[in-house]
Symmetry: none
Amino acid sequence: MAQETKARIRKAAIEVIAEEGFFNTRMQDIADRAQLAVGTIYNYFSSKDEVLSYIFKYEIQRRMKSISELKEQKLSTRRFLKKFLDRHFLTLRENPNLGRVLVREKEFSRAKDNNEIKENMNSLIKMLEDIFVEGINKAEIKDINAHLMAVYFFGSMQGIIEFALTEPEIEMLVDGPDFIIKRIEHIFK
Amino acid sequence: MAQETKARIRKAAIEVIAEEGFFNTRMQDIADRAQLAVGTIYNYFSSKDEVLSYIFKYEIQRRMKSISELKEQKLSTRRFLKKFLDRHFLTLRENPNLGRVLVREKEFSRAKDNNEIKENMNSLIKMLEDIFVEGINKAEIKDINAHLMAVYFFGSMQGIIEFALTEPEIEMLVDGPDFIIKRIEHIFK
Amino acid sequence: MAQETKARIRKAAIEVIAEEGFFNTRMQDIADRAQLAVGTIYNYFSSKDEVLSYIFKYEIQRRMKSISELKEQKLSTRRFLKKFLDRHFLTLRENPNLGRVLVREKEFSRAKDNNEIKENMNSLIKMLEDIFVEGINKAEIKDINAHLMAVYFFGSMQGIIEFALTEPEIEMLVDGPDFIIKRIEHIFK
Amino acid sequence: MAQETKARIRKAAIEVIAEEGFFNTRMQDIADRAQLAVGTIYNYFSSKDEVLSYIFKYEIQRRMKSISELKEQKLSTRRFLKKFLDRHFLTLRENPNLGRVLVREKEFSRAKDNNEIKENMNSLIKMLEDIFVEGINKAEIKDINAHLMAVYFFGSMQGIIEFALTEPEIEMLVDGPDFIIKRIEHIFK
DNA sequence: AATGAATGAGGCTTCATTCAT
DNA sequence: TATGAATGAAGCCTCATTCAT
């Protein structure tokens, strides 16, 4: 039924966009991959842009939920960050195509009124900033610029992911979390 | 003369692409900004893709040259990295549009045979890796995974730049170099 | 039962087509207005064109029947024309949407094999021509070109209707019949 | 040069639209008739709708100019109307396709924000109304409802034209002006 | 008899590229 | 060398129609 088809389109789109890039992907390509007619996609999405937006919204919301659960576990800042990285990198290892789309296509159609994706990314960074602020307040980490730290953390994470997803380096995703945590070890008191 | 016109096109392209994104930029837009006719662009570039490639090639080569000069100064690894960051961040502060293009459009037309840009980016990372290897050999820094470190360093740098170039946070580029160096302080012996 | 549904579709179609025009009306719009599923329409009509054809056929036949009744009353030509105008203009005042469809959509799909509507319109003009011929024969009106007169009469009638149905001038339909009759007063002996 | 091409497109569009109707005409058809590429049309018009709008604007402006000239001749109301009809009917006899487009396609895309055509038609009716008002003031014609008279006059004119342009009746355009004038003879004092 | 998700042909429009001036 | 009108392939999207339930 309805939601099945929408999910099928989402998954097909992730695959094709990961392979070809968003701008090089034609609606027909997505339809072919999903084994549907083009018209069917338009029964679920109003435009090509909306397909990509939906992928981001869907995945970021899953991550936000996962983070909320993590927060409820009242972990130390270090363990929280570690678990967050573990989960995120594991998801990407299991679905590298999704990762490719998420890191590569975030800049699409900036010129249009599609700030939704940007906002979703920023909400993730904001969440990281909150974690650092909290860590500082709980005297678990040193008094650093939490905002800059969040951007730095997110950037290094994205950088590794982006590089790792370049096919032959996927194993970098295995070592990533530990490496990152070790790099910021010095901010913990 | 010839080179003047080519440079004018390059600069116009950087401006427009920074504002609209590569895929949303039409050759006509570049021509308008350069106050030239579209046809003229094709006297200097064989295609739209080549305009972007040229921007990357031109800028990366400038950076590589700047790095070569730096290498000849026989600086310590720490001072080398610091100077590299300073120069890079300063350039971007002086020409944020260029930065926007470099960080955002690197993924363009992956599906096509346009690996040139990718190779240029990778040569920068390779260069960083060399620096870390050299630092390890000279016993200036600890024995870490140089490749992963280069990717991490580059990623965090790009992350800050990307975020900083989102208009209202340009000042992040001022604090960036010191922040990054402090973050990796622990790898120095 | 069956005929109820078909009438519901006809009425819904008149409303939507009056508002949006035939070519801007989608089958889905008609279905929505009739509170039915699109598929249901196809149980009663074989195509979108047929829906419009049916509206014309249905209404013109009603008018022809009304005219036949009028003819049986053996009225003078003047009184016949007056009663015909009165009835017609009254119907349109009661259902302006129907009028809008009848005057505006008569030209649709000329290029296709859909002459049915055209024929229906022409049969109305032919009927008017008969009335004028008869009037001449009965020496009630002067010897004019009956065919041209019919076209003229029909055109002026349509013109007023078309203009009147432009929302704010509906009251023109009230004065219309008398005005038209007065205009052709001179043809009566 | 530029204006030549635009005129070529306008003329080709009139022909094809007269034959097929606006909605059944594809941009490709217009391009074929004009012996141009589709893309070329878009160098002169921003959309298909605009092509039709332009035809109306262009022709109505010509008529308005022709009317202004007529007004300067200080003719009696009767002679003015006669000359106006003569000119108009002659133009249509010389270019029946133009007439077909003007009478048939005036209702197109009402649902969109394309009131331009409507306004152009109304300006013609308004002009006629002015003529009648002036005639009343100059005591050349009786005291009738000038607005209704203008609508009536315009409608009957359109009706004859519409019917006449149905191929086999073109000669109706020859008798039209005199017939119409005779019909309204009684309004002159 | 009613439903509405799926279909896919077809139209409008865009825009990189060419080429005659 | 510069120009910009002309080109036409290609993509997005619409919507009448079908058909399994």
